[in-house]
């Protein structure tokens, strides 16, 4: 991990050459959740391919640019499109943007994803505040010699998702009559969706939803000392005993439909950051 420090500086220097404000938060937008960007007063949008050390985005419906601007007047940076382990990238490279957020001055990470719902009380289009996670990726972004300038060797994980922010988001949800849950996200490498037996396994070990992202970024945010709030949008239901084939188009349609709710919750959380 000793090469990261210089890489972060180079990425930051490049972004700073185009945008000089200090963001309060960094936002990562998952599958189908890009439209939140329309709410941002964009100062500058930079393609990932231009930013030193940023990866290109290859996943479906992930656009691949860094948006710098203001959301409701609050300076933020947002990643429109993220990277996944299943694309063949290393977790160290995938999570570099989070470290860049921190270096730009953001102390809050807002992360979102589209996920499969395993808790039978959830429905497609619902939003779940991530209360905790289980890492079954088989990998970790902090592997390597630790750079103490970036964070501790053994980060504690007793509260990776900031409780006060979860509560704030749930309050906003109630006020706006939005169905929002609080639950456990399990990350698997993918890219295949899970078998019925795997869904039963993941449910048994305590997870409410399953996805292929988010956990690496959150681990790095915790390592960096950032607060984290995570939103899972349930885009398909994964009930092992009544499983139907997942259709990517339907998943994206559900994500798009839920997106205004997500936007409301994200704006609500950020309102409290003023």
């Amino acid at each position: 991990m000793l090469d990261l420090f210089d890489k972060i500086q180079e990425s930051v220097a490049f972004i700073r050459s185009k945008w000089t404000e200090q963001p309060k938060a960094g936002i990562i937008l998952g599958t189908g959740l890009g439209p939140l960007v329309e709410k941002i007063d964009i100062d500058v949008a930079i393609e990932y391919s231009e930013i030193p050390h940023f990866l290109k985005s290859t996943a479906t419906s992930h656009r691949g640019r860094l948006v710098c601007g203001r959301l409701n007047g609050l300076p933020i940076v947002a990643m429109e499109g993220r990277h996944h382990l299943y694309e063949g990238y290393s977790l160290k490279d995938i999570t570099l943007p989070v470290r860049v957020f921190k270096a730009l001055g953001a102390d809050l990470l807002v992360v979102s994803n589209a996920c499969g719902g395993m808790n039978p009380y959830y429905e497609c289009g619902d939003i779940m505040l991530i209360e905790d996670h289980i890492n079954l990726l088989g990998d970790n972004p902090l592997i390597g010699i630790n750079d103490d300038r970036l964070g501790p060797r053994f980060p504690d994980m007793c509260e990776p998702y900031t409780r006060t922010l979860i509560d704030r988001a749930l309050t906003v949800a109630r006020k706006n009559d939005i169905v929002a849950h609080k639950g456990v996200f399990v990350a698997v490498a993918g890219p295949n969706l899970e078998t019925r037996a795997e869904y039963r396994f993941l449910r048994t070990i305590g997870a409410d939803v399953v996805g292929m992202s988010t956990v690496p970024e959150v681990i790095v945010a915790v390592h960096s000392g950032m607060r984290v709030v995570g939103f899972s949008v349930i885009t398909d239901m994964c009930l092992a005993d009544s499983l139907k084939p997942a259709v990517v188009e339907e998943i994206i349609a559900h994500a798009n439909k839920a997106e205004p709710k997500l936007t409301a919750l994200v704006m609500g959380v950020l309102d409290g950051e003023r």
Partner: protein
């Protein structure tokens, strides 16, 4: 991903050590966090910093100045690793287990391994010792083990037990005689380096884990596959209470490891004496 690795050959390293310490030790020890007292009990004849030993990785990680101690314990030749290599440092399985493979080359037949571990079993208290009876490998690195297990059987024989039953019973008898608590249980190995989330603790408990740590399993897998008899001990440094939020502090881990150190020493010395007796 790693970028922190180099090709490691046990033969070259073993020859280098033999040239400086011409003995065939029967016993080997891997000393985890807090097992310093065992190292102090050894009558040292030779000491080698890992950096000196050919093909050993030159660890640049802060606070990981490891060394190989060669000497006698209870009148028997022994070789001890003070400080070990972890997968979370970016080393491959091959490099992580270099010490075990070197010990095998040097003639070690019985291996003691200790680790500092988080307690998942709520019956445990900080400072307790658990004899590892079996493990659950959640490190996701078994693929890397291919090709380096050339020294013995092709597949590790973990169907019976990689952990020696007789040595386990000797350790329990030792604990009874010396009036301290000891448990047997299942060690879960994780990649790390972050500590577990509450949900992960609950998961590990559900699948049968009693302690959790970031080491030992690659070492045991290689040792067992090379036919060594293994006694592996977890020092419980903090008992995870997933339903009562509490941060793990590094200082606490070290403090409780210190409480356990004299017990580890008694168990290892007893095992050596029992071995000599027969």
């Amino acid at each position: 991903m790693s970028g922190n690795d180099q090709i490691s050959s046990p033969k070259t390293a073993a020859e280098w050590i033999s040239a400086r310490w011409p003995h065939r030790p029967r016993f080997g020890v891997v000393l985890g966090t807090g097992a310093g007292e065992v190292a102090n009990a050894i009558q040292v004849e030779q000491e080698f910093a890992y950096q000196e030993i050919p093909t050993f990785p030159t660890s640049t990680a802060v606070g990981h100045a490891g060394k190989l101690i060669c000497g006698e314990l209870c009148g028997q030749k022994i070789i001890a690793m003070k400080g070990r290599f972890h997968l979370y440092e970016g080393y491959s399985v091959e490099t992580t287990t270099i010490g075990i493979r070197v010990m095998h080359q040097l003639g070690v037949k019985k291996l003691f391994i200790s680790n500092a571990a988080g307690g998942i079993n709520p019956n445990f208290e900080s400072g307790d010792i658990m004899i590892i009876d079996s493990h659950v490998d959640l490190m996701f690195r078994a693929d890397q083990s291919k090709g380096i297990w050339q020294l013995g059987r092709t597949f590790a024989n973990q169907t019976d037990s990689a952990y020696d039953q007789e040595m386990a019973h000797q350790a329990m008898a030792c604990a009874r005689k010396n009036d301290f608590a000891i448990f047997r249980g299942v060690y879960v190995s994780m990649l790390g380096p972050n500590y577990e989330t509450r949900s992960e603790y609950r998961f590990l408990k559900k699948i049968g884990g009693d302690t959790v740590g970031m080491s030992t399993v690659p070492e045991v897998a290689i040792a067992s596959q090379m036919g060594m008899r293994v006694l592996a001990l977890s020092v419980v440094t903090n008992v995870a209470k997933p339903d009562a939020l509490e941060a793990t502090s590094g200082d606490e881990v070290v403090a409780f490891a210190d409480v356990a150190a004299p017990k580890l020493r008694l168990i290892i010395e007893n095992a050596i004496r029992e071995d000599v007796r027969r």
